[in-house]
């Protein structure tokens, strides 16, 4: 069960996924409590043209820079679009998402190796991760965790009670930009390994699955990380076994994501059980008439 990972490229793939698990567990908790799934999805798509431009300008090594610029720009634009509390403008987010994604597709379609390039940008190349890429991911992971730790209290307060957080003196737009930037950095960190499409699974599924087991935010984050680690290990092992021993081609990143989703599905009944055990809140008292002396 461990032997395949002694092959260097598979070992590096697992290390890369472990780094991503470390950040995606906690970050997915914030995405979950802020209900930012759609914004995360938008970010993964808007980073795509940055990836393409970065690749055209500087080859594989240019991808992170391109993704970084596109990610930061999108984080700012989405924060401006969704100012004033909950996501108020789904339509404009969707417009930004599709417009940027189209730009990416147009750019990549000008290349002769169109299909191969598109596939690798969308679904990543986990098995070709280089030591240098690993180091870059490690640096990004450290930055992301630092930002998250520093902002954690304020971000949780804002997610739970935006009016209360504003009343306490927190700048809501600033906190929203903060979290959007963190999510953008995760997309940047993950884009080469798992691609722009599959990274959204790492941002949404872990916390959603962990929520079935606990109401503790820190436990949710730890469980989320554990789930990605398990799915990462299992997915890589499955794709290795399938292709080496059975001659079946199974994309590694897709196998990882499929296992993650499978874990979510397996945990669903537990979540339903927890909810049923919960005591229902008593009905609200509402009185249309008030008596005055």
């Amino acid at each position: 069960m461990i032997e395949p990972f002694t092959v260097p490229f598979l070992g590096r793939a697992l290390a890369e996924l472990a780094l991503l698990a470390l950040v995606c567990g906690p970050v997915s908790v914030f995405v979950f409590v802020r209900r930012l799934s759609f914004v995360s999805d938008a970010l993964t798509h808007t980073v795509f043209p940055g990836v393409v431009i970065g690749f055209l300008a500087g080859g594989v090594e240019g991808i992170v820079a391109g993704a970084l610029v596109a990610g930061v720009v999108t984080a700012v634009v989405l924060t401006l679009l969704t100012r004033g509390g909950a996501l108020s403008d789904d339509a404009s987010t969707a417009v930004v998402l599709t417009a940027m994604f189209s730009v990416g597709v147009v750019l990549v379609s000008r290349r002769s190796s169109y299909t191969a390039d598109l596939t690798s940008f969308l679904f990543g190349r986990i098995l070709t991760v280089t030591p240098r890429q690993l180091a870059e991911t490690a640096v990004l992971a450290a930055v992301i965790l630092g930002l998250l730790l520093l902002g954690a209290r304020a971000l949780i307060f804002r997610a739970f009670d935006p009016a209360g957080a504003a009343a306490a003196g927190y700048r809501i737009a600033g906190l929203d930009l903060w979290l959007n930037l963190v999510v953008a950095l995760v997309v940047v960190a993950a884009v080469r390994a798992v691609g722009t499409i599959l990274v959204v699974a790492l941002l949404i599924v872990p916390a959603a699955a962990a929520r079935m087991l606990t109401v503790r935010l820190t436990v949710m984050a730890a469980l989320g990380t554990g789930l990605i680690l398990l799915a990462g290990y299992g997915g890589l092992l499955a794709s290795w076994t399938a292709s080496v021993e059975h001659g079946i081609s199974l994309t590694s990143a897709s196998a990882v994501v499929l296992l993650l989703v499978l874990a979510y599905l397996l945990l669903l009944p537990l979540g339903a059980l927890r909810r049923r055990r919960r005591r229902p809140a008593p009905a609200r008292r509402g009185s249309p008439h008030e008596l005055v002396g």
């Binding site: 409590v33 520093l150 902002g151 209290r153 304020a154 949780i156 307060f157 997610a159 739970f160 009670d161 009016a163 209360g164 504003a166 009343a167 306490a168 003196g169 929520r211 606990t214 109401v215 503790r216 935010l217 949710m220 919960r278 005591r279 809140a281 008593p282 609200r284 008292r285 509402g286 009185s287 249309p288 008439h289 008030e290 008596l291 005055v292 002396g293």
Partner: protein, 251 residues
């Protein structure tokens, strides 16, 4: 003599330059309790938000704890309506109360014993010491309201604002909240609470501010809540039922 907790002189409030509440004229001393009364949409929440500096002052001068409203946020506590919060949010009662300490704790510092003690004491004061580890969402509406009050207490504010604290609250919780509010007043904390329950306003407040688009009356409950003034402020929704009593019928 120290500064008044609140001093509003000819204040109008609104959004995007359009006033929604005008002619606000009030002074609140430390330890005093002010009830904001009026029908839905009267401007009660707008007035509370203006104290926090979250609604622009279009005219007049508003002073909170001796300075500009936004500058007093760290000395002001705010209790929102429980209904505005997500009951499914994965957070315990104690964690909610700890949020009241966040501004004191700052960004870097871990929580200290003094913070945890403040949280325990605040929960104890609202009678929920045994529910510290309970998921906020499975508490009753009244218990949630008490947790939010405890959160404000944990911040040790000089001025406390409560938005409809008795909406959807059971009798036990209402009693607990009223008791804490009286204690706070006695300890010198100034209170502003909005309510459409005139009985509560009469029993709890030193001053009542009657609002409906503008300020209709201010003063002790007996003077500000007469049938005559209520009928003028509420229009057809205030109905005399004899014996000098007036019934308000919400539209």
């Amino acid at each position: 003599m120290g500064d008044a907790a609140l001093r509003y002189a000819g204040v109008s409030l609104g959004y995007h330059g359009t006033p929604v509440l005008t002619d606000v004229e009030l002074t609140l001393a430390g330890g005093q309790r002010l009830a904001l009364v009026g029908p839905n949409g009267a401007g009660k929440s707008t007035l509370i938000k203006s104290v926090l500096g979250l609604v622009p002052v279009l005219g007049g001068t508003a002073t909170v704890l001796g300075g500009a409203p936004a500058g007093a946020r760290h000395r002001t506590g705010y209790v929102p309506q429980t209904g505005s919060l997500d009951a499914d949010f994965p957070v315990t009662a104690a964690q909610v109360v700890m949020m009241g300490r966040y501004r004191r704790i700052g960004w870097w510092r871990p929580t200290r014993a003094v913070d945890r003690r403040a949280v325990r004491e605040a929960l104890d004061r609202v009678g929920l010491a045994d529910r510290a580890g309970t998921h906020f969402g499975i508490l009753s509406g009244g218990q949630r309201q008490r947790v939010l009050l405890a959160r404000a207490l944990a911040a040790e504010p000089e001025l406390l604002l409560l938005d409809e604290p008795f909406n959807g609250v059971d009798a036990v919780s209402q009693e607990a909240v009223v008791r804490v509010l009286r204690e706070l007043g006695a300890a010198g904390t100034a209170l502003v609470l909005s309510t459409h329950d005139l009985t509560v306003a009469r029993e709890l407040a030193d001053q009542v501010c009657l609002l409906n688009g503008r300020q209709w009356a201010i003063g002790p409950p007996a003077a500000a809540l007469t049938g005559d003034i209520l009928r003028r402020a509420y229009g057809g929704h205030a109905v005399d039922v004899g014996d000098g009593r007036t019934v308000l019928v919400e539209p």
